[in-house]
Symmetry: C2
Subunit: 166 residues, 2 copies
Amino acid sequence: MSHQSIAYHPEHNHSHCIEQALAQARELCKARKQRLTAIRELVLRLIWQSHQPLGAYDLLPALAEAGFNSAPPTVYRALDFLQTQGLVHRIASLNAFVGCPSPEHAHDGCFLICENCRTVVELDAGSIINQVQTEAQALGFAVRQQTIEISGLCPNCQNPGQSSDS
Amino acid sequence: MSHQSIAYHPEHNHSHCIEQALAQARELCKARKQRLTAIRELVLRLIWQSHQPLGAYDLLPALAEAGFNSAPPTVYRALDFLQTQGLVHRIASLNAFVGCPSPEHAHDGCFLICENCRTVVELDAGSIINQVQTEAQALGFAVRQQTIEISGLCPNCQNPGQSSDS
DNA sequence: AAAGCTGGTGTTATAGTATAACCATTAATG
DNA sequence: CATTAATGGTTATACTATAACACCAGCTTT
């Protein structure tokens, strides 16, 4: 992972970020013989507009503008598909959705959520997940899914007088 | 923590569990000069009826039976109070609430959620939280709150043909 | 080509979760 | 007792998510 790929980094190139995500999504769906339809690709593109998670209802106006119907089931279906393919994650504590930077292997994310600028970064959570596994196993609990969402302040928002993204 | 205090344990004595939770709540509120009113105590008692989290709307009928009004704001106010006092936790992935076994010190819980019997156990999560802190600090992120919710199967529900609590 | 199947989408309605806003009442304080 | 703060009642509404059924396009099977 390069420094630029981290959303906090001043040199983060988001247009590269989003185009790469879309290209990878197209590749993955092709390889898996899944259909990345126009609606699904649009929803994915909208979610990748930023590293701030979007709610399902935030997506509806843009779908309407693009000429699709804009009833909730449409966007939830697209989101279900994208989640199943690992292309987006749902953030339970926000009821919102964010693009996944590594959709090629199925995994639960571990997220850092900035309370000021709302930017979300997905951690490589190997050691945390191992720790959870260890503690769960000590109680005989079989882990199937992990929801790990950390709220706080990102490096950029810890300096007072800094511009906010809200 | 004794073995019996773990909800999975065959000798878990829940009537002891709930009475202790209520007694501790009364003590804590008294010490903090906070008012554990009838509604608040009833909501706490209802939540402690089991180790399965309850949704806010699950509580309304019981409030009505007890002669209180049963509109949503009533129960959400009680839940807000109980959360502020550390007496209950909200499980974001379930939109539900569970009693906290150690309300005397403020903390975020780390929960094991059984997908079969829906029993939730709160871990002593020191080492997990440390691990999270370490990873967050490496990115310059200042942690304020942690949401850690693990879904899977509890020991009792991993044996097929076993009775379910649903 | 006709019939039948599948997956994706359109559409309407409704379920489920949470809060805003305003008013009445009760409890704590001086 | 008067004042103030905290609590609760009430109505309405916002926000999040899904059920259920209809339609259609593309495909397979005959």
